[in-house]
């Protein structure tokens, strides 16, 4: 993107994320105001929401970085050692593994009460093992079954709430 004679790189993902937070905050403020405009309702929510929106407005320009600056920053980042800096996978295979595990987790949590905790845990454990690189069928089945059994019987002893199961 070109602006005032300079080439800019847009971090679209970050821009979408900031806008999503700002939209969520704006919706929450709107929802709170629609309930009541009493001080008892807005005392904390309104000032904090406005503050959050102001912060989001200040962050949005950070999503547009001059191309020459972006290159320098990337070089500098590679030189620095920071064990807690976010190190998300960059290789295609790793990204696919990570996304697959995320999707499996999503399917798992929504399937718990539908297909039963035992079946859901067994299938999720098997899927997660396969995603992480396990290919031996016997290991996949036995370990997943062990995880499902240990989790179901262990949590049944610990928690007072019922868990819907099909086999165990």
């Amino acid at each position: 993107m070109r602006f005032r004679g300079h080439e800019y790189r847009v971090d679209r993902g970050h821009l979408v994320f900031v806008c999503a937070i700002a939209a969520a905050v704006a919706w929450y403020l709107f929802d709170t105001r629609s309930v009541s405009t009493s001080v008892n309702n807005l005392l904390l929510v309104e000032p904090v929401s406005l503050f959050a929106l102001a912060m989001a407005a200040l962050i949005i320009p950070q999503c547009f970085v001059r191309a020459d600056h972006a290159e320098n920053t990337e070089e500098k980042k590679e030189e620095e050692y920071d064990p807690l800096a976010p190190k998300l996978p960059t290789e295609r295979a790793q990204v696919i593994k990570m996304l697959s595990l995320g999707v499996s987790l999503g399917v798992f949590v929504f399937a718990l009460n539908v297909i039963g905790f035992d079946i859901a845990i067994f299938l999720f454990a098997m899927a997660a093992m396969a995603i992480c690189g396990e290919r031996r069928p016997l290991h996949l089945v036995l370990f997943s079954a062990a995880v499902a059994a240990a989790a179901i019987y262990g949590f049944r002893m610990l928690i007072p709430y019922p868990m819907y199961t099909v086999i165990l």
């Binding site: 937070i21 009493s38 309702n41 929510v45 807690l84 976010p86 093992m129 995880v147």
Partner: protein, 519 residues
Amino acid sequence: MIDFSAFLDALGIMATSAGSWGWIVPGLIVGLVFSAIPGVSITMAMAIVLPMSLYMDFFSAVVFLTSVYTGAGFGGSVPAILMNIPGSPASYATTFDGYAMSKKGQHNEALGYALFASTICGILGYVLLLFVVEPLAHIVLRIGPLEMFAVAIWGMLLLGSLGSKYVTRGLLAAAFGVLLGTVGMNTAGFIRGTMGFPTLLDGISPIPAMIGLLAAGQLLTLAGKDYILDAEEARKVSVKKILSGCWGTLKYPGVLTRGSIIGIIIGAVPGVGSSVGNLIAYAETKRTSKDSASFGKGNPKGVIAAESAVASAEGGSMATMLALGIPGGGATAILLAAFMMHNIVPGPTFIENQKPMVYAIILNNIVQAIALLGVGIGFIYVASMVVKVRTRYILPAILVIATLGTYAVDGSPSGPITLFVFALIGFALVRYEYPVAAVVVGILLGRMLETEFLRSYQLSGGNPLYILQRPGAMAIVGVMLLSFVMTAWGKRKQARMEAEEEAAMEKLHRDDIAGARKT
């Protein structure tokens, strides 16, 4: 300060109820194991074993439950150090340097630091409680909602100094977290942001949200790795190194003392507890330390500060409960329930009438802290084996336990769903360099912030000058401002030093090039 005749009677109770001592080790093991499971908090562990204490005599029941409390205080730091997942909110600050040490292959030492800091400061907290239990009753009565609000705001704003590279992103994350913490029905009866879901009436459940936010950053990204720790050396378990970590703790008496004092004070404030105490202790240690730049990158002082505050907060919250009958947090609320099940109501009258029993409870907690050292080393040895297991086995197991842990909160599917939603948010936060800590603490404190602010507003009638009538609140605000000025000054000094160092290196490099050209 100590009633010696009551103290001697307490020693008599300790000697005659030797059977109660047998509950210390099982209690510690229950606490350690439960809190090491991500999602099972100290409160939950104590709530689960509470019915068991019904069948014990009063002293045995209190010994057992306080042992669970002591064990759980340290147990949470094991997954915090090994996997960057705090077993309970109280261990959150332990992840900052504990996990960084683990990534450098120093997980044994980090666990040793955490264990010894927990033991020493646990003892310190209770020794202090022994002296102050009587006068404290008078002080705590003066804490009002404005002081509570000021302490919570302090805890929240301190997150800005907890290693956030971009201040604006840190503040947005904190504000976003606070707003998430206010979802549901507030104390004035207004319902906001529930989108029609009845489960959100009580607000967003903080435990599933916390696990989700943290799980995304670490667990999902581990999918591409064969082992949690890359280096082969880093997966070795060594009792010798654990003990060297334990011994190394004694090199930092100042950090231990500061952490303890902060932990005791914050722990004594009802509703705030060790989940804020460990953050404040960490931030204050970082701020006052000469090597503050190395915090968050594996500085042992960070682990010691956080753990010392957690351990000593137990003494502080027990002080409030014994002196006033007000639980400092969820765990002491369970203890209060145990007292009541045995027809005993703690408070100033209980201290006055049952002084030997109060001293016996405190003395027994000191014994528990000492016992934790032995039991804890054995537990660490077993827990450290976790890093030896391949990711393909440990990852599905942890994700299943974490998901079921969120289900255990209230037995509804909302827990696991909250975990998943916050896993996605957490992933984005990590990806775009927002401090996840700020959102987590915001969720934990949002409701309390609003409630205390509302109470202060109602008490003052909307007059901001009300603060002038509250010297305690003024003192907290004063300390808070001073703390920020010192942080800003420290950061500026650090930036100047880094710039000078960079300039010196640049000059050296130029001189080298010039020298090479001449020759």
